[in-house]
Amino acid sequence: MRVLHSIALFFSLCLAASTAHAQLTIEITQGVDNPTAIAVVPFAWQGGGTAPEDIASVVQSDLSRSGQFMPVDRADMLGFPSSQQDVFYRDWRALNTEYLLIGRVSMAGQMRIEYELYDVNRQARVDGGVIEGAPNEARMLAHQVSDKVYEKLTGIPGAFATRLLYVSVTRNPTGKDYYRLTLADSDGARPIVLLESREPVLAPAWSPDGQEIAYVSFETTRPAIYRQNLMTGAREQLTNFQGLNGAPAWSPDGNTLAMVLSKDGSPDIYLMDLASKRLTRVTRHYAIDTEPTWMPDGKSLLFTSDRGGRPQIYRYDLRTGATERVTFEGNYNARARVAQDGRNVVMVTQRSGSFHIAILDLVTNRTTVLTSTQLDESPSIAPNGSMVLYSTKFRERGILAAVSVDGGVKFRLPAREGDVREPAWSPYMFR
């Protein structure tokens, strides 16, 4: 909750910032074959006046977006129960509903959401709980309800109460483009522009505690890595070297930032100790070494290198200094991101001239191509390892899209304006 309050404070500081730009919408393009039918009944508002947020609607969109649930249309509901004695299972069975979610929202300084989940077939209450927080964080509280319900019904913790960073670009035919670094909820709602620039902004990355971000900005007409605190807004320029300053990646313990610098000739991976700002060079090769990412145990890094002629993913062991090649299928595999289980690696792969998102299982060494569009890049995996967010082109515009790690669920998040790219899914923020 401490994080929640701090973020609320930050949002109030940022309210002056433009929010209309690059607001994302969601279009589900593919779900599982037999989604679970769930009725999310409008939660009863027990405060004064009108409810500040339709909690049930947020939860329903979350579950629907996962592709694993088929929500019952509100118009079809025969009643809006908000407590157990008002639940008539027969009504819900008639609608082929498998699960029923009801709830109550009250306000006493804090917003308090009570929810109850019922199994319609077994006619039993299977879960229930209370989520509390600041009223202006109502949507995030609703996402926390979604997380609980999702976990109860799938066995996997939900990742709805998380955030996204992304870069959007608005073309300016008469001059320089507008680049914006935006922070939004995982459903694209409540976008906040963190940085607006006429020069490129790229490579946003989260700190493991979700309180800080790092990114590259060309605002000085040269690339430099910046670090920004989401709570205080405090910003610090970390690098200003000749050549590339790119691809920042936070270590799992939060103390070190991996990055790419070409100050010593060709692009190599470096580690910066964030307390002392001291740099350690990791790779030494005349080829391109770039796109470092940490294994969850913090003991090794994956990176992209064309030392073998074409870009492939390599692994660098920080204890032994040994480097081994990881990808062998196809002639272009790049920009790895690793799931928290340390097993699934998502990356960009080239097949017959097109660039797709693929997933590599480090245990079985099997690679599965997840997407079929042509210019897919920048994959970012949800903290629960279930979905991969990436950027692609749709009708000649850059948009974000998502695919489940088994390829079964797909949705798009087109923006109302501009090109959107480089999504970065936050770590868990409320667990």
Binding site: G246, T290, P311
Partner: protein, 173 residues
Amino acid sequence: MKHLPVAGKALTVLFTAAFLVACSSSDTKEDEAAAAAAAAAAEARAAEEAAAAEARRGQERLREAAVAVGTVFYFEFDSSALLPEAQQALDAHIALLATNDDKVRLEGHTDERGTREYNLALGERRANAVRDYMTLNGIASYRIETVSYGEEQPVAYGSGESNWSQNRRVELK
């Protein structure tokens, strides 16, 4: 480069005049010598001015040649090798840069295919290829700044080789 020998000639005339002045031993010939020196100096000044004008014309010709070849040099897919036409164009810029102290900025770009960070590295390779060609041909490296924008700043939006080929480039600024 033509203006340099002209300036050399002017200097020779000037030195000859000074030598004559220094060598005149007779007082009666002082006036004559002074007149000759003045004439020589005037001649030298005229020659200098002519040389400067010629130099300006020469530089103007070089500038026109550099403008004519443009400031954008194109590359093949996933390659940082300088194409023959890019080398020719660069030769014109190098000839001009040899006559002045201007600093240049080389901006490397790629098409949209491939990952962003890899493309930043590829864009840098392209800018470095142009820089290396310039330094090899006598332009001091401190006068050259290189920056890679990767795929971030296309000039042709949209996909397909007709757009991509315009975006794989180094721009001289």
